[in-house]
């Protein structure tokens, strides 16, 4: 009898603790932009951790064992998709032993759902470098496509915590409205520079360029994940001169030497731009990051 009472108390205590823990939806986002969007949609009902701190390369977040317990206890993993995280996420998810987060499960929140990729390769042959096999995954630099990510995140949160649906939906719409207002502002800021060409180290900027009417001229690296050869640099410099490309973008996770050299040889302005929030100081949120990017372009082009 005493035993039964004890067991009942134990079970109650266990249930109690799980309920306290379940009060917040535990989310692990791969990158800081997705973490920020999730915080905005989830508000007080989510606890969000990001694997990246913001200064990493989107394809090169170190695979730290300390991420494993985080993923082990998470309800959702929010990712960019299009194989953006292929160098670290699949192995981490396997090591996490969390059946809820495995690909295809509702806890695996692929934010690319509903986005049609640019640059889908005709072949994934490695003669083309470490190609993005599903197309370019860097759609988060397009604020309109980021809205699709916001909706995907909201749907996933609603699925895992339907009791907060009204809040999630409300938060989502408030955030989308904020983003829309910002988008108008960014569009207006970049409107005078329509058709401006620019190069960057890695192909992060196709979606961004397309959205804002700029022209993404090419990459400094030879192929995705393959450093440029001297001949490639030479060719790029001469065609940039001929086509009057005024901007060289350097993502901070790549060495400055080659982009700086190209800027110097072509007379273009070198700007350092983050590829996710936290990539450079004062870009802690997605909106702050996009503000920074747009203003950097504007001030470089106004010179």
């Amino acid at each position: 009898m005493k035993m039964k009472l004890f067991l009942a108390a134990l079970i109650a205590a266990l249930l109690g603790t799980t309920q306290v823990n379940a009060a917040k939806v535990r989310v692990v986002a791969t990158l800081t932009d997705l973490a920020d969007l999730t915080r905005n949609v989830g508000g007080e009902f989510v606890e969000v951790r990001s694997l990246a701190t913001g200064i990493e390369d989107t394809h090169g977040v170190p695979m730290k064992p300390s991420f494993v317990p985080l993923l082990n206890r998470a309800d959702l993993v929010v990712l960019v998709g299009f194989d953006c995280e292929h160098a670290f996420l699949p192995a981490l998810l396997e090591a996490s032993k969390n059946p809820k987060l495995q690909p295809g499960k509702p806890g695996y929140v692929d934010c690319s759902k509903g986005i049609s990729p640019l640059e889908v390769p005709k072949s994934t042959d490695h003669s083309e470098g470490d190609v993005h096999p599903f197309g370019n995954p860097h759609y988060m630099l397009d604020p309109v496509l980021a809205k699709t990510a916001v909706r995907n995140i909201c749907d996933a949160l609603v699925a895992v915590a339907p009791e907060h649906e009204a809040d999630f939906v409300k938060n989502r719409d408030v955030y989308l409205a904020k983003l829309d207002a910002k988008f108008v502002e960014w569009q207006a800021a970049l409107a005078p520079f329509k058709g401006t060409k620019f190069v960057s180290y890695h192909g992060h900027w196709h979606y961004f360029a397309q959205r804002f009417g700029l022209v993404y001229y090419g990459t400094i690296e030879l192929k995705p994940g393959v450093d440029p050869t001297a001949r490639h640099i030479e060719g790029l410099v001469s065609s940039m001169k001929a086509d009057h490309v005024p901007i060289v973008v350097r993502e901070p996770q790549f060495p400055e030497k080659v982009p700086a050299l190209i800027a110097k040889q072509t007379g273009a302005t070198l700007i350092k731009l983050p590829i996710m929030p936290g990539g450079v100081p004062d870009t802690e949120t997605y909106i702050a990051e996009m503000d920074y990017i747009v203003h950097s372009f504007v001030s470089a082009l106004q010179k």
């Binding site: 170190p62 064992p65 090591a95 996490s96 509903g114 409300k170 719409d173 408030v174 994940g225």
Partner: protein
Amino acid sequence: MCAGVEKLKMKLKKILGVSSALCLCATVAQAQETNAVEQLQQQLRQMQANFEKREAEDRQQIEALRKQVELLAQKPAAVTNPVVAAEATNSVSPGLFKELSDKVDNVVEAQKKSLPGEFNPAIGLVGDFLSSYHSQSADKMGSARPGGFDFWARSVELMASASVDPFAKGWVVANASADAATGESTFGIEEAALQTTSLPGNLTLTAGRFFGEFGRLAYIHDHELPFVNRPLALDNYIGGESRTDGGQLNWLVPVDHYISVTAGVGDQFGGDSPNPNNPGNFRAFYGLNFWGRASTFFNLTDNWQLEAGVSGMWNPKTQDRGGLLLQPNGVTTFTEKERRLAGVDWKISYVPLRENQFNSFTWGTEVLFSDNRFFINPDVTIPSTGYEGSVGSLGLYSYVNYKWSRQWSAGFLFDYLQSAQNHDDETLAYSPFLTYAWTHWNQLRLQYTHTDRSAVSGLKPDDAIYLQWSWIIGAHAHGWTQR
């Protein structure tokens, strides 16, 4: 506002119609030719771009109007009335919107599935070729390869992996390796294992033929090592790779700090073990091999990390493994009876968050203690009641590796080994190495190794230069063990 909504509804309907047609077309086209798919992709992209644009414009309109309404009503509708707010942005026709977006999703997802990357199973091929020069002849090095100039296609490995069902994944590594002595190509199954993917309680069970978890580098394939040759201690104490036919259970301890615990049981342990252990007529449970490992990880700073582990292996009954200990009289031999192995390992690494593809540093060390116990050879008629001899020996390796660009890295490996049969037989080796990774599928490594062997062994010191070329084609996983 009403007119705007009507206009949008019309547009949505139009897109919906076209997109359903697209859905059907896409399915057929996939089976036929890629040209049509590309065209459709183009169209779809265009359409989605237009749709996004229109959507953005309409949202702006709605937002602007809503702001006006808010102003007029003098109350923040978005905050106080979530339902109305939600409807204001979404009420255009939620059902229709959802249906449309689902259709578009389906088309996009279907396209994704037709990509070549989706082949099942994932297949990769690894080649590992060595050319070398040794200053000493083979008999003076105790080596199966000739001294002097040598070319050796050490291994060609074919790897295939896929999910078996929702509960397990499976993989096979077949190795066509050139026999070190004869050069004859031998084809063998290095690994063929199943691993559960959804056991409860943070458990994973691996069964079949696989590399058992002991230490840090014993379960890594040759071509993935940071240097050319497997450290002497692993070769001598484990027998190369920690290959086994058996089962292994791994447990991720459910705490906030990373702790991983593994225990396994199996037939032979070590790739070069000549025979299965104790095959005989009837084998008791203790005729098998047992091993285990516990490891943990610390973030020392954002960029510096420490991984550490302890491992053990126990083979309680080894008579048939073929281990013999010749006594100084040159006549009496002891037969290996029991094999025990313990190890500690640590790896301190600098992996800068920002530029880790261009710059990193690793210091890895593994120290192994071997305890081999011998019976007097039963063929010799001397009565025996217990161990006649026990050889305790120590082996270790320690290496540093520094990477200063995407392509270049260099390091130094130190090897120390007391033979498992005779701890007075010591070997020391010093190996600086330089690696050039053309890309991460294709890499060249130049290594110099000076090996000092003690006189007891009857072998001579040796200088060697290696040039290793290893490459991968097809699928390769960024696996957990290779991190």
